[in-house]
Amino acid sequence: MMSVKSLIGIGFALAVSGAGAALAQEAATPVSAGTGTTVDHSKLEILQKDFATGPEVTAACLTCHNQASDQVKQSIHWDWDYEHPETGQDLGKNNVINSYCVGVAANEPRCTSCHVGYGWTDMNEPPPQAANAVDCLVCHDKSDTYFKIPAGAGKPFGKEVKEGAVTNTGKPAKPVDLTLAAQSVGLPDRDNCGNCHFYGGGGDNVKHGDLSSVLHNPDESIDVHMAEEGLNFTCSTCHVSNEHQWHGSRYNVTAKDTEGAPPPGQRHDVSTCESCHDTEPHDSLTLIGFKLNSHRDKIACQTCHIPTYAKGGVPTKTVWDWSTAGRMSDAGKPYKEAKYESASGKKKPTYVTQKGDFEWGEDLEPEYYWFDGQIQYANTDKEVVPGEIMLVNTISGSQDDDTARVWPFKVMRGKQPYDTERNRLLYPHLFGPGSETAYWGKWDWDTSFEAGAAAAGTEYSGSYDFVSTEMFWPITHMVAPAKDAVNCEECHKKDGRLANIAGIHIPGANPMGPGGKLGALILALTLAGILFHGLARLFGRNSRKES
């Protein structure tokens, strides 16, 4: 029998040795464990100071990362300018007209609040030249505290925040501690990219439809790759980067990747599905897998694997009618109506004096078109034909085009202003508190278009109207788990999902085509003949019985 004393002794010894083991473990595990980095920025001497401005932080970053600023300045994130290699069109936010707030020109401080730099106030000038005008923190802050002022041309909030101020994500703004943010830096996560890209078009999921605040912390049913409990991908897991250049372009899309997954050490430059899943992603040894792989030649992965977009209770804007903007309340004041309620119970505006009428949608089925990856923008090059739908951008591709596949799209519809003399789309000057020309405040389209034309370097004749427009947005995010992929019969039936696609043969989509009709006629004639013959036999037998 063991004495109580010795039991206590053993217990004490065990406790001490256990604690010792725990201590040893702690000492062996660096603080930065799991962050994937070899530097703990909170320990760097140069970051141990009270930063007053963003550029001060950038200057500190550049003392070590001395190529970073130059690299960022080579990217589309910096100059918002993209010359399309195929069409030669001048694209990028700097140039394009869309069917949301139309264009950046003249509205810089609002729009450039999402620029990866500080103080780009005039789009006719290139972004600021100084090396430390690049904003490192907006992409690399891991403290989730760094936010830019929505109309601050890229400037972050300061130590003091005005009552009622909100960030561009729609959340109440908090004071920004630049030192804390600077010491937290690391590789970008979903929040860094999402804080701008999820809120494009002026709010949560307004623009893309497949990029919304739901992707900050999605589950598998929303996005099988980004699911927090699953693969937990960040944006840059697919949008691979090298020296601050990213892959994955909306202007020049790889609509059909025939190269597939690279061997180790090679090709790490694309964000296509095939770059990981290879060109034969389904099990070729099963019949259905074999069949699905043969779909891949003409059907984009996204077409089946993104059955719906604008998921998770965050709707996307589907219609924006500028022609009704400017109505005032009975009190003569601008007003708002919010008659759309999302699945998550959030009210969404359906009329705003500044912007006109809106419609919203969620869990939407995409529309499908042939797509070779090339997108052309109308901008002010393309003529508006009054009474016809003006395509703000056009997508190309067809069945016999080897680079094209059937892709899913969000089609944004609306009405937007055009010049009735020149038959070209117009750039409005919308934003500018205190300005003499901004529509939001002066409520005069003429002065707004004049100022917009001047800022964009085009003309305005003095007469305008609104034209119905459509704009195409390829859907490629919010990939569903395999079990939720589009079923065969959703396309293989009459008036199925791909009913409008020309040039492909879809069994089941056209019951009773010419072959079926002729065949049915043969069958019907056979049956009629049998009926006739059988009746004649019956008649003959009866008449024989009688005789």
């Binding site: 019949l287 259905i288 069949k291 792989n293 043969s294 030649d297 003409k298 069945q399 016999d400 080897d402 079923n487 065969c488 019969e489 293989h492 039936k493 009459k494 040039g503 492909i504 043969h505 069994p507 089941g508 989509a509 056209n510 019951p511 009773m512 085509g513 010419p514 072959g515 079926g516 002729l518 065949g519 049915a520 043969i522 069958l523 056979t526 049956l527 049998i530 013959h533 059988g534 004649a536 036999r537 008649f539 003959g540 037998r541 024989r544």
Partner: protein, 220 residues
């Protein structure tokens, strides 16, 4: 002439017939599902059943063609006009008056001239049409890069369906003709046990008694 009960369908032919019945029913049902005529099955299941039945049927046909060629059974289908007019006249007039069928079945020629022509048309026109278009359908991926493939797949699909209706019409006719004659069972029984009553010349009877006693039942 004497009437004797002789085996006219050897075991393989009966197996071939009934296996074909099962596979053709399966393929018609699943094929019409794939074509969109009905929706009483999941599409991917229909793809599986239709394709695997097709592969089995093609395998069966390989054996059947081999069998026809090596056993000389193909001679049953050589078209002839001998007696054709009588058979046509029977089905157009005589049958209504209760006349007897003019064709007398012989053991080396089990089909009447009209019947053998119908089978010949089925075997050299409709069946090849359905399996050639079927294989083209199944292997579309291999020729899809060719110019005009989008047009040709439409042709292939339509011909495939046309052939399917042709086969279905044949089956309907086939079933209807079983109602002619003495009884339906009389027509079906030989396809189960292989035996039917045929006319034999004394020489034929002697030959079968002597050299193929298993094929002829003892005289009653």
């Amino acid at each position: 002439m004497v009437q004797r009960t002789v085996q006219i369908f050897p075991p393989f032919e009966r197996f071939y017939h009934w296996a074909q019945v099962v596979l053709v029913i399966l393929m018609t049902y699943t094929g019409f599902r794939l074509y969109g005529i009905h929706e009483w099955m999941a599409y991917d299941q229909a793809v599986l059943w239709h394709t695997y039945s097709a592969l089995l049927l093609m395998l069966l046909w390989v054996f059947a063609i081999f069998w026809h060629l090596t056993t000389g059974t193909w001679r049953h289908y050589v078209p002839t006009t001998d007696g054709l007019i009588h058979v046509m006249r029977f089905y157009s007039f005589g049958i209504f008056k209760g006349e007897d069928h003019p064709y007398r079945k012989v053991y080396w020629r089990k089909h009447n001239p009209l019947q053998s022509m119908a089978y010949l048309a089925l075997k050299v026109l409709v069946f090849p049409l359905i399996w050639i278009t079927g294989i083209a359908y199944l292997t579309y991926r291999l020729w899809e890069p060719a110019a005009g493939s989008g047009f040709w797949i439409e042709i292939v699909g339509n011909l495939h369906v046309l052939a399917a209706f042709g086969i279905l019409s044949f089956i309907v006719m086939h079933l209807y003709l079983m109602t002619t004659g003495h009884s339906i069972w009389h027509h079906i029984k030989p396809m189960f046990n292989g035996y039917d009553v045929v006319d034999l010349t004394p020489a034929e009877e002697a030959y079968l008694e002597q050299d193929e006693p298993g094929r002829i039942k003892p005289a009653e």
